[in-house]
């Protein structure tokens, strides 16, 4: 009987706490900024702003000969969406344009081109501005493709020319239209969850520790577990709003396919959100200072979520030592599931192991933050 009544008293306390915290969260302009404004801003920046798709590369065409073959060989550059071609008279002028970054590539057809095509020994020079290595590499590939297409067409028309001996037929699974938005936009859910779960929570909690308002609650009959629950629930709700915004935005604004099922996406996101909340709570209760908590949270959650998660930079390219470091941070497990769920589907061999690691991390961090809070009372 008394067990029952203490149970219901506990529930009443928790409900009252959640009510208080929720009001506090939704009246605080900071949490609206991080919980609502940030997700929308990130969605716009990543969806519209960032693109690795190489299109309309400005290219200077240096035609040192104007034969039909020379015109044919560069026709691909004039017609394709990948290039934006400008004819230029001399190589010197093209080099000047490249240096001024008015063009990013030079295609040079040397004199004597048509005659050497007949001999089967022609050469075309392609020069790219290498500062942006990634774009440069992709542009080079497209340029070779454009020239190869012309050659293949000439061969198909029955000209006795030798085509390239091996023809690579490139295909892309899961992202047939080759749009970087399709992997960037799902990936940004990890950023939204990290910001709300870890950064906002650690800032708010550190402020409470700093001002002593958290300790003030200890003198009430509230248990530390109940206190934490009251703190977590509103931020958890804010995180779910962020998730809903991100899923809606990626589907409606950017047409990103969601090939996996939404319930799985929601469950895995909840796990990651719990991990992020756990990190935020642990950092704030250890540092108890807004400035230090914010700096540490940035370094251990937000920056790894961008750089060490596989969201933008492929993990396999990193040296072994850095790859090992990425296993410490929860973001890599979540990003792997996100990219698979959005573009590939419910592939359990990816989802299960990653979700298990997240669940384990969530359990440990939540336990640790309860212990840390309890210690302070004693």
């Amino acid at each position: 009987m008394s067990g029952m009544s203490s149970m219901s008293a506990s529930i009443r306390r928790i409900v009252a706490l959640i009510r208080k915290e929720t009001l506090q969260v939704f009246r605080d302009p900071s949490s609206i900024a991080v919980g609502i404004v940030m997700p929308i801003l990130l969605l716009v920046l990543f969806g519209y702003g960032l693109s690795f798709d190489v299109k309309n590369v400005p290219v200077a065409l240096v035609m040192e000969e104007s034969s039909a073959d020379a015109m044919g060989a560069v026709s691909g550059f004039k017609l394709s969406d990948y290039f934006d071609a400008t004819p230029v008279k001399t190589m010197a002028e093209a080099e000047r344009l490249l240096l001024a970054r008015q063009v990013n590539a030079i295609v040079r057809i040397p004199p004597d081109f048509a005659r050497r095509v007949e001999l089967g020994d022609a050469e075309i020079q392609v020069v790219v501005h290498g500062t942006d290595a990634n774009t440069a590499r992709i542009s080079l590939g497209y340029a070779q493709g454009a020239i190869g297409t012309w050659l293949a067409r000439e061969v198909a028309r029955g000209r006795p020319l030798l085509n390239a001996p091996i023809v690579a037929e490139n295909r892309l699974w899961f992202n047939e239209t080759n749009e970087s938005t399709h992997f960037l936009v799902p990936g940004l859910i990890v950023l939204v969850m990290t910001l709300i779960g870890a950064l906002l929570t650690s800032l708010v909690m550190a402020r409470e520790w700093e001002r002593g308002t958290f300790e003030a609650l200890f003198v009430t009959p509230v248990h530390s577990g109940e206190l934490l629950l009251g703190k977590i629930v509103p931020y958890f709700a804010l995180g779910m709003i962020g998730l809903a915004l991100s899923i809606l935005g990626s589907k409606l604004l950017f047409g990103v396919p969601l090939r996996g099922s939404i319930p799985i996406l929601v469950v895995v996101s909840m796990l990651y959100l719990l991990v992020a909340l756990g990190i935020g709570l642990v950092i704030s209760s250890v540092t108890k200072s807004q400035f230090v908590a914010s700096q540490i949270t940035l370094v251990v959650t937000f920056l790894p979520a961008i750089m060490l998660s596989g969201f933008m930079f492929d993990l396999r390219s990193m040296p072994l030592a850095i790859q090992i470091v990425t296993y410490i941070f929860p973001a890599r497990y979540f990003v792997s599931v996100l990219q698979t769920l959005f573009l590939a589907g419910d592939i359990w061999s990816v989802i299960l192991p990653n979700a298990l690691v997240l669940a384990l991390m969530a359990f440990l961090l939540m336990g640790l933050s309860t212990v840390l809070t309890r210690k302070r009372i004693g």
Partner: protein, 372 residues
């Protein structure tokens, strides 16, 4: 005039003491830039040095085996499976054990001998379309080179047209050469903007800012006293990153350090100006932290650091014109890789001067305005 200078110097001394007297904050100003530069220098790369692939060789001829040996010996491609059917390979891509599936046709050798095009399918995991494109282009390069050499070795002529490619300023196309110079601006901007915004917000929260305002200091003097120490910290941090770039990553610098530092001083004035402006509109540290962060995100993402500005829609490209980081990254790239001089950098330098000339006086005005 001299009195004003003395007042500013006293204020700067006080700021420096506040920053460096605490060992924790001393460490937090010096260690993070070095660590970030090291970790991101290794992590932030679009180059691939390990491409796991699944092989489906329908031909099983001497030539197809030579091609596979070529792929395996490239140092980049690692074969994780050798399969009979393409359908079996799908599982390897699904759970990310393989990035590519390479399928060699049954008639591969026969076609090659007959001089007919021999197709090889290169299927990539598009979950990261950038990795996929890079892996495919590495694969294509090996296929093309192998085909040419195979023909030439038999005394057969190569393809009618050869495409010779060159990349200027970064001949081996290493992302790191591009990324680490960009980090100089990015890391110092992050630190200096936060430092400036937080230092004013902290004084506001603790009430010492009001005390500062009842002293004979003019608002512009308070502003300079807050701005210069942050800039000095920024310059120290960029020097640390230069040293890591030079001695650890051994990235060559083609231009002069003097020009680089001039660009950095202009950049830091612009960044600190924005930080001061933000600090003048916030009430406490939490707001300062969050608003700085909300402003930093678009600055960092729309700077050309991670994806090229030329790929952005026109409206966002226009926004980048007021982004100091865009100019800082452009200046460091040109000095590092192209060896640019003052004339070439004039547009970027002037843009930074313009941003600083607007934000610094405006935040001084805001300080005064808030007093009144």
């Amino acid at each position: 005039m001299i009195e004003s200078l003395l007042r500013i110097l006293a204020l700067m001394r006080k700021e420096m003491l506040a920053m460096f007297k605490d060992p924790k904050s001393r460490v937090s100003l010096i260690l993070p830039p070095i660590l970030q530069c090291l970790i991101f220098g290794y992590a932030a790369t679009y180059d691939l040095n390990n491409v796991p692939y699944a092989l489906v060789d329908h031909d099983r001829s001497a030539v197809s085996q030579a091609l596979v040996a070529r792929l395996d010996g490239s140092g980049i491609f690692t074969r994780v499976a050798t399969l009979d059917q393409a359908a079996q390979a799908a599982a390897y891509v699904d759970d990310r054990r393989a990035v590519l599936i390479i399928v060699i046709d049954r008639d591969f050798q026969r076609n090659l001998l007959a001089g007919a095009p021999a197709p090889v399918q290169v299927i990539a995991d598009g979950r990261n379309s950038n990795t996929a494109g890079t892996a495919q282009s590495y694969g294509n390069a090996i296929l093309t080179a192998f085909g040419e050499e195979w023909r030439l070795a038999r005394g057969l002529p190569g393809a009618a047209i050869r495409v010779t490619t060159r990349a200027w300023y970064n001949p081996s196309l290493e992302t790191r050469w591009n990324m680490i110079p960009s980090l100089i601006g990015t890391i110092t901007m992050m630190m200096t903007m936060m430092l400036t915004a937080m230092s004013v917000a902290r004084e506001r929260e603790e009430g010492t800012f009001d005390q500062l305002l009842v002293t004979p200091f003019r608002p512009s003097e308070v502003m300079i006293g807050k701005a210069v120490p942050s800039m000095l910290v920024g310059l120290t941090q960029s020097t640390l990153i230069f040293l890591v770039a030079k001695f650890w990553f051994q990235i060559p610098i083609a231009g002069s350090y003097a020009i680089l530092y001039l660009g950095l001083i202009l950049f830091l004035s612009a960044a600190v100006g924005i930080g001061l402006f933000l600090s003048s509109i916030v009430a406490n540290m939490q707001q300062a932290m969050i608003i700085t962060f909300v402003v930093l995100m678009p600055f960092m993402l729309l700077s050309g650091l991670t994806a090229p500005i030329s790929n952005m829609p026109a409206a966002l490209q226009t926004f980048t014109l007021i982004n100091p980081l865009r100019y800082a990254i452009s200046i460091t790239h040109q000095v590092y890789l192209e060896g640019a001089g003052l004339v070439q950098l004039a547009p970027e330098m002037l843009a930074l001067v313009a941003i600083a000339a607007v934000t610094l006086p405006f935040s001084a005005w805001m300080f005064r305005h808030r007093l009144g």
